[in-house]
Every structure is written in C-alpha cells, then in structure tokens.
Symmetry: C2
Subunit: 411 residues, 2 copies
C-alpha cells in the first residue's frame, strides 16, 4: 500500500465526462489498496474566463479581490469531482485551501506556501476517505484567500505530498510526460523516462510548461518523487527524482524555447556604484522578476544595461525603468518584445567542455544572431529574434542528438 | 448619517453593466454620508447553472459538496462588485461567509444562521471601507461551507443588519416592492407602501417570492426595518416594519397563489393514537416541510389523512408515505401534483368576522371547488385545482377591493 497524491490539471477536468474519467482513475488507485489524496485545478478555460471578467472592470485589479474571484474555479471542480467519486461509491470529500488549511504569505496572486496542516486530511484517510483538495489556493494569516500563480496546483500537489509523507506525487496532464523539446514544434522530440529535479527546474523556468517551477523546488527540497503523466493513458510518464548514476550518460537532456519575455535596454548609463540598484530596485519592489541581465563593458564612464522581464509585466517594467533612467540621466531606453529564448539543459554539462561552442555553432550555421547569452551549471540560454525560435529549437535538438532515443534505462 | 445594509439580488448583478449600476447606487449612498455594508447574491442564472452541473452527476447529490459548489456563485459576484467599487474610488473589500464569519448549523443546503461576528466588518466601516459580503452562505463549526436555501441572501442581509445594529436593511430586487398580488397575473395589483412583519411572513410563506420568509422572521425578532425596492429605480418601495396604527384600516392586504406544492392523501388510516406520528416522522426526518394537514372525521375506526408538501420534495415524500402506509395497513395512497394554493392575508382579519365566508363565496361564484382549507390569525388558504389558480387570485383581489388604491398613508 502506498500513499499517493494525484494532481489533475484543468484539461483533465475540462467537462463532466473528463471528470468521470479522473474519478475512475482515482477509484482504481484506491481499489489497488492505496491511500489517495487528489488535488484538482479549475476546469480548463474557467480561470481565464474569471480573469477576463476582472480585467473588464479594471486593467490592474486589486489582487486580494482577484484571488477571491479566480480561486472559485478550483472550488467548483473539487465539489464536482467529490460528487462524481461519491456516485461511484468512493467516500470523497472536498477541501478548500483554507479548510485544509494551506497557509501562505499575503503576496496575492503569487503567494508562497508557508505551512500545510494535514490533521484534517489524515483524519479523512484514516477513515478510509478520499480528500479532494482545491489546488492553486491558500489562505493567509488574516484569513484572506490567496492564489499561488499560474500552475500553482502543481505546487499544492507537491506540498501536500511532502506534508503527508506520500510515496509519490503524480501530476496528471494532457501530455505523456516531459519531452526533450516541445513536440508541437519538433516532431523528433522524445519523452524522457527520468529527469533530475535540477534539470526539471531549468526546463520549467525556461518555458517547458509541464510543471510549475516552485513545485519542483519543493519536491527537490523534500525529496518527493514526481511522476508526470497523462490522464488519458495508462503508460508511465516521466519520473522527476534526485540525480542518480542512471542520469549521467546524457550531455544535453532537453531543449526549451519561450516567447514569454521582452527585452529592455538602458543606453549610456553612468557607470557608478549604486546605479544598477537605482534601475532594478523599483522593478523588484513591483514584484517583477528580471531574468537575464547583461552589462556591456564600460566606455567613457558609461555602459549599456540590457535585461529581460516577463511579457506580462513588460509595460509596468518599462514605465518604471523610464522613470529611473531619467533620474540617473541615462541616454535612452530601448525595448523589444519580439524575442525568443532558446535553451539547452543537461546535468551532464557540468563535466563537459565544448557544449556552449557547439550550441553557438549550430545557431550560426542557420544565420541566427544571438542577442544575449546566460548560463548556469546545467543550462545555456540564448536570446534571439522571435521569428527564429522554433527553428533554433529544432536545430539544437538535432545538434545534440536528442532524437536518437532514450539512453537511460527505465527505473 | 445612517448605517445601511443593502442587499442586491441576482438580477441586480446579472452582468457587469448591472454590477456597475449597483456600484453607482452604493457609491451614492456612501457619498450621502452613510455607512454601507453590501450583501450580494450570485449573478442571475449562475446558481442554476451550478445546480445543473451537480444534478448531472447525481440526482441526489451529497449536500456538503452541493453547498461547496453553489456557494461559489456569490464568491464571484462579491469580488466583481468590490473591484467595480474600487474602480470608482470606493475602498470596498469582499468577504465570504466564513471570513465574516457567519456561523450556521450544519443542515447543508438549508442551514440556519446561529451567530454573525461583526468585528471584522466594524473594523472596515471604522476605516471608511465598504464591506461587500457574500449572501446565501455561511460556515458551520467544523469549517464546512453551508448555504441558507433559496432566497438565503435576504436572510444574510437582515442578519447582518441586526448584528450591525443598522438603521435599515434595503432589499434590492427587480420589482418595485411588495404588491397586493402578483402583477403578472392581475393587472390591478398595487404596490404596498407599508406592510407588517406578520403579513409579510404569511405572504412569503404563501408564495410571494419577494423575500425569504426566514429573513422576515429575523427582522421581526430584532425589529429591523426592511425596505424592499427596485435596483432600477429611485422610488421608495415597500417598508416592512412592525404593525402600527397606520396599518389597521385594511381588512385584507394581499392575495397570493402558489403552484409549488403537491397533495398526498392516505386513505383509510386506522384511527389509533400514534398513527399520525408513524406517517409524519419519516417525512420530517427527511427534512421535508409539510404545510397543510387535514384529517377527516373518523368512520368505522378509519380516517383519511391529506397533506401538502413542496413539489421539489414530492417524490421523496411519496416514497416515504407509501412505505409508512403499508406498515400501518392503510388502504392506499393518492397523490395530486395539479393543485394551487390561493390565500388572502391581512392583519385586519384578526378583528373582523365574515372574511372567510366572503372568500368562499367569491370562489364558489366562479365554480371553483375548494379541496383543502387552512387558516391562521391573519390568513386563509384554499387548495384548488391548479388550472384555476390565476383566476382565483384575480377574483379574490377584486372581492376584497384591493384594486382601489392604497388606503394607508406613506410613513
């Protein structure tokens, strides 16, 4: 008997027939003698519908109300799934974030989980019940409803798995697992059978949409195995676990690309101590995450500073930067929304030289100009013109031989 | 300066433009120097949509999950109204039942309010804010979400007005107030300017849909004036207050009719002590409210027992009664869903004879057969064939001169 947390995404509960499909899978897992806790997202499209309602009222809605509004999507789906499970004879019960309770900070719309109380859920499990928990939502110390940001239900799943000491957190989605790159743009993409937490985090932060990055951080910290798999198939998907010897044989394990960022350049910034802080403090105060930052080498006491921000925050960031640029007497601010970020990820890169040059060569062969470069121990990202994004991903996938089949063995 | 609770029904917040209309009215009341607490129902149609989803899964859904599901409608509308008020510069904040908190018993789908905590709301008011509270919902001692039954937002409004010691509870709806009868079936119907709590309770329990009966009980108990009015007009509506001398001059103040009940007859029940209890205990255990009960005078040790139940509970009740009838060896059970109940209501009836005979005569003149009669101090109800329901209402309206204009003076 295992204790399993199963998280189902919005496409898996998009309508009543899919909810029945999920319920059958939950029932089967129970019948096999496991303890199951289910986490559900809102029905596909519902969160977007609610966001649109809010934005019709106010472009920049108060985030406390925004969270109260969009958290209703999950409340609907947990109740519907619990009712469906009951109709199959499974004693299910729905729980909201604040009923569990999943305590978060008060950063509305991107709250972080501080603590998960599991007393109530353990009581259900001991009584043979199946708790169905609303993903994506929590409650702060003052009793306000909070949400965890896009993909936050993944984090709910992993946080529950951690707190409940579950054997595995199964993340059900509409794809079969984690691929070497996006199969929609590269038909040669292959499903990975295993991937390390670190690789998965890089993949997630670089645009692979399969898991919210925070959920992987959580899983790594507490060493909870994640199994990413399809709710429409019985095949194994991809296991996300800590790195082990079976993973060492690949140099590059995935290629990602993303068009979700925009680039801002502050031209001729006086090169004095404290200047970077004048530019970036207002941005960080506005809760905007800056990704890549490049500073040219200084010439005649001035430098250019280029960085990327999420497209969703672009307008807000640009306004703040323009104000800062004026104050510090920079020459001008340039902006570019037509960029793509293409990246290669692989734990094996740690011990191998020549990976970067191989990447740059492959792109150069296609005449793709590299605007920015950023690296970590296990990834290299390049910002390029948006129109080359898909081509670059395919080229790199081929250059690193990712189409050649899984080298690793199944666990 | 007054403290005002304003409750807006589903049709008043049916879409974003109507929500703006509500927000303007709230803003105006604030600008006139009043403290305002707003209570909102779900957007029209939303609760029905959610109920249908639940019923597609299970005809007889678990009521805990049902409440968790349908309470989301109000959660959406409070957030949208709060956002709209904020966009007009009014510092509004939404509150769920469990955030206020509105403590109820655990009778899911028809919970009763036990206690309203107003600390959080008073804090908002003192800070110059406008709390926007979700109607219809509460929370039980175990933290489960509960709902108060159809029209429950009225009760939320009055309960808040009571707990906050508000000067008035304004109930905004899509009609101009309380009418002498349903204007849709009787063009001569007139709007009442004042009505007593007792009359209003009878009207509400007899089918006038303008207020949930429990809200009037609450208002009477704590003497909170209710002002029923239209959210689409600035005219005064109907004040529901305690009885006073201005109300004594009318004999009959309203005619109601309803087709929401069904009739069940148990034929040839052995006339022994304890038999009625054998029939009605299972029904009451199933939380079904029996309205009228008639027992024929006994012949040869047997009697017939006839009673009415809400149509929504009819099938369930019939099943229970058939089982009981078998056990107590009654001859058979008859059922009739094609009935209407037509009633006259008036505080003035207390001191006048001849009202009943006038009613029966008026119906007889139209050849309308009376199947059951029930009376209270201030009302007389007759069950008749459903097809005569509207005709009977018009006939009685005319018979008691209700078309002749308001006798009472405005307050």
């Amino acid at each position: 008997m295992a204790r399993i947390v199963q998280k189902y995404g919005g496409t898996s509960v998009a309508d009543l027939s899919r909810i029945r499909n999920v319920a059958r899978r939950v029932a089967k897992t129970c019948q096999e003698g496991n303890e199951v806790v289910v986490v559900v997202s809102a029905m596909a499209g519902e969160t977007d519908r609610l966001i649109q309602l809010a934005q019709q009222i106010n472009d920049n809605p108060d985030l406390r109300e925004y969270d109260a509004l969009i958290s209703t999507g999950e409340q609907v789906s947990v109740a519907l799934l619990a009712l469906t499970l009951q109709s199959m004879g499974i004693p299910a019960k729905s729980f909201l974030g604040l009923q569990v309770r999943i305590l978060t900070d008060s950063a509305f719309s991107r709250a972080r989980i501080r603590k998960v109380e599991v007393k109530r859920l353990l009581k259900e499990l001991r009584a043979g019940g199946v708790p169905v928990v609303a993903g994506f939502q929590g409650v702060d110390e003052d009793g306000n409803v909070t949400t965890l940001g896009r993909g936050g239900s993944d984090t709910t799943g992993v946080a529950l798995a951690t707190a409940l000491k579950a054997d595995v957190c199964e993340i059900y989605t509409d794809v079969e697992g984690v691929y070497t790159t996006d199969p929609n743009i590269c038909p040669e993409a292959r499903k990975r059978s295993r991937i390390s937490y670190d690789e998965m985090m890089e993949m997630a932060s670089l645009g692979a949409k399969v898991l919210q990055i925070r959920s992987v951080e959580f899983a790594k910290k507490y060493n909870v195995p994640i199994h990413v798999r399809s709710s429409f198939s019985d095949k194994n998907g991809t296991f996300v676990t800590k790195e082990d010897e079976r993973m060492e044989r690949v140099l590059v394990s995935g290629v990602t690309y993303s068009k979700n960022e925009a680039r801002i350049t502050v031209v001729r910034v006086p090169d004095k101590p404290g200047i970077a802080s004048r530019i970036f403090t207002p941005i960080s105060d506005a809760n905007i995450v800056v990704d890549m930052i490049i500073q040219n080498s200084s010439a005649d006491g001035h430098t250019d500073m280029t960085f990327t921000v999420p497209k969703a925050d672009f307008k807000k960031a640009l306004k703040l930067v323009k104000k800062a640029a004026e104050e510090i007497k920079a020459q001008e601010v340039l902006a570019d929304e037509n960029i793509a970020k293409v990246s290669i990820v692989g734990a094996g890169m740690r011990n191998h030289a020549g990976v970067a040059s191989k990447m740059f060569t492959a792109l150069a062969k296609e005449n793709i100009n590299i605007m920015m470069i950023s690296t970590s121990e296990i990834k290299i990202s390049c910002v390029i013109d948006a129109k080359y994004g898909e081509l670059a991903a395919r080229v790199l996938h081929r250059a690193f031989g990712l189409e050649k089949g899984e080298i690793r063995k199944e666990p």
